[in-house]
Symmetry: C2
Subunit: 226 residues, 2 copies
Amino acid sequence: MIKAVIFDLDNTLVDFMNMKRRAIEGAIPAMCDAGLNLTPAEASKIIDEIYDEKGMEYQKVFDLFLQRVLKKIDYKILSAGIVAYRRAREAALTPYPHVYSTLNKLLKMGLKMGILSDAPTKEAWLRLAYLNFHHIVDAVVTSEDTGKIKPAPEPFMAILKKLDVTPEESLMVGDWAERDIVGAKNVGMRTAFAKYGDTFDTQQHYADYELNDISELISIIEKENA
Amino acid sequence: MIKAVIFDLDNTLVDFMNMKRRAIEGAIPAMCDAGLNLTPAEASKIIDEIYDEKGMEYQKVFDLFLQRVLKKIDYKILSAGIVAYRRAREAALTPYPHVYSTLNKLLKMGLKMGILSDAPTKEAWLRLAYLNFHHIVDAVVTSEDTGKIKPAPEPFMAILKKLDVTPEESLMVGDWAERDIVGAKNVGMRTAFAKYGDTFDTQQHYADYELNDISELISIIEKENA
């Protein structure tokens, strides 16, 4: 009997990579417009390198970008980039198709819902609040809550405890096979691989289910609980 | 002959206090909605106290607010507050009436324009970029550029140098008599007091001109340059 569904956040509920890409694609022309003397393609390449080095959650990417390109911070260019980034991100931060309707159907079915994310606590919560998910889910666990990231058992056990369910009563949904699926299976949860979030379509997984659209969860749970 | 107009930013071009007030008024109900167990009036009072203590540019106001009220950060409430604050600020960050049209008329008249602000460099520039002023003005000086704030002569001399004009060729426009007007007069600039930005209507000033609307600058400069 499935009583709780636990979702990874980025690339499972929200298309994080697309959001980032569109935010950066908004920022680059604004920086060129403010006086940056690079082509958009050149700027894009250097910004990608910085994200590769520092991780996708790095919050000072344009500062470092300008340091590398100009050997100093030009505040006119920096501020133009940040403002355009924020506006494009706000516009691009939307859930995958059928996320809202699926979560609402799960609510009606009486299921508990949790978020299990390895993103930094504040960034994860800000994305949840932008999307209004903070009203829908019953519990959230981020890496800072346990000091461990998936596939370690600690984060999985923490969210199960918060939701007051056993591993057998819960289904983990995630796009990262080696973290979400492996970690969930190791503690005894049911698993669904969010194939629609697997951008490069390169992952092997051993999940119980594979989702091409998040709405497929409804019939999976109906079948499990029949 | 006036060749340059130098503007203070906050409460001269943009109604900073109104922007802050509306952003906070957006954040408080969102925090109550996310589980904060205070009335909006109680929350508002504590937030005002924090701004009084830490200054209006303090960037961690909701973190400190929750520490004081709950003795911890509740990320659901924090993120709801930050997201609502950002959205309300974006909506409220608009220039005073006739700012855009006046700046464009000054451009057509061949005048140079500068911004002289005591705000932190990054916050000042972000506001300029949000408003698209970064394309209009020729130079910006913030307190971090000289390490001094108005009425010290250094910031005034720095913006005059950037604009390549003498004090006698320039007009300072600001809402803070003891800083903007006194400082500008001390270095020999002409002065206009932005009375429309003097929220509490309590300041005495000895400026050459008093503005009830920024558009009055046009006839002042036409007269000066006749």
